[in-house]
Symmetry: C2
Subunit: 184 residues, 2 copies
DNA sequence: CGGCAATACATCGTTCTCGATGTATCACGT
DNA sequence: ACGTGATACATCGAGAACGATGTATTGCCG
């Protein structure tokens, strides 16, 4: 499984769980989710849809196109639903650490109906964020923003720290809510 | 030029501008910069080095390995320096919008000695961050965190907003400094 | 009425990615 | 003496990414 492929496929499965829709529609949603950063080429999306169809995860039925060419409306199969849940419940480490993939996971995490499983993922992310790490090292020691003279590199570290803190505080709040929901 | 390839090559050129070094060393630096998120496979890095060597952007000289196998110490050629400056001065839009690529640019922006050219890039990024955009849309209207009920999707928007604000404030501060430096 | 943009999908070929595997050396523990 | 792990690089093959290009329809503007 190629790296972006996994993310793209998760997004396809997730959006189709939201609602059956055709490729062009999917493309726009994916462009918003992961692609206001880096657009998905059509020649990447359509083969991905075919892969998933061939794997029996989704089915297509052709509709006369509203306003244009005929549409292939895509629907998740039962296996598709199962596979989505599997991918949400047991993500690879990269899905936790890579921000793009993590956001993709988050976007569909509600489809994993179990609050405990959801909390488990948030805790994995929290553990990752708490591990001391940097973009720059001196030997093995991670450099903090204050130790870097280059203003641009310092900017990277400053921004990353702000993000990290915002996310940690969100994680704590959300974990509290999830735990409260589990308790009653 | 494949997408990741551009980023990887920029990182190689940039780190070699910092100091001549061998592939294994590069790999660790790149892993820290872009890869505490997603590690670079050796079978991706070494071919990339070869591409750049073949293009005349870097030269290698073999050294008896300290502690292990012989090293190929890599050095930027004159064309390598020129190419690095070219890539820093005229990045594609994706380099501005994709956070990973933007951070890679930032990491080496100091090598673009001209403060005006540096400021120009920061302004492009600022313009991108100020454009209203979201991860989720209702029709054409970007949804704000408050309008999303799903706590996980709301988290995405909350975190993204915090990041965006931290970065904008850093951008403003840094642009002021750059302009002050230009004025005298 | 002509052209252009948007909708909607498809194919092709080049280039890149990456896991698997291999080779070789040194350090360190046991 | 032996295995393990780190250092350091290389090759191969399957598969994925993407730009270019094509096809077809509808709607709108001038």
């Amino acid at each position: 499984m190629r790296h972006n492929a996994a993310m793209l496929e998760l997004a396809i499965l997730g959006f189709l769980h939201d609602a059956p829709q055709h490729g062009y529609e999917l493309r726009k949603r994916i462009a918003a989710l992961t692609g206001h950063v880096k657009p998905v080429a059509e020649s990447t999306l359509y083969p991905a849809i075919k892969r998933l169809e061939k794997a029996g995860l989704l089915a297509r039925r052709t509709q006369p196109g509203a306003g244009a060419a005929p549409r292939h409306v895509l629907t998740l199969t039962a296996e598709g639903h199962a596979e989505l849940r599997r991918r949400l419940a047991h993500p690879a480490d990269t899905d936790i650490t890579d921000e793009n993939r993590w956001f993709t996971l988050l976007a569909f995490l509600r489809h994993l109906d179990d609050p405990l499983a959801q909390a488990e993922l948030l805790e994995r992310r929290m553990a990752f964020l708490r591990r001391p790490s940097s973009f720059f090292y001196e030997g093995d020691r991670p450099l903090r923003a204050e130790e870097v003279e280059d203003p641009f590199r310092r900017g990277i570290l400053t921004i990353a720290r702000a993000t990290s803190q915002a996310e940690l505080s969100w994680l704590r709040r959300t974990l509290d809510t999830l735990r409260a929901a589990t308790d009653d």
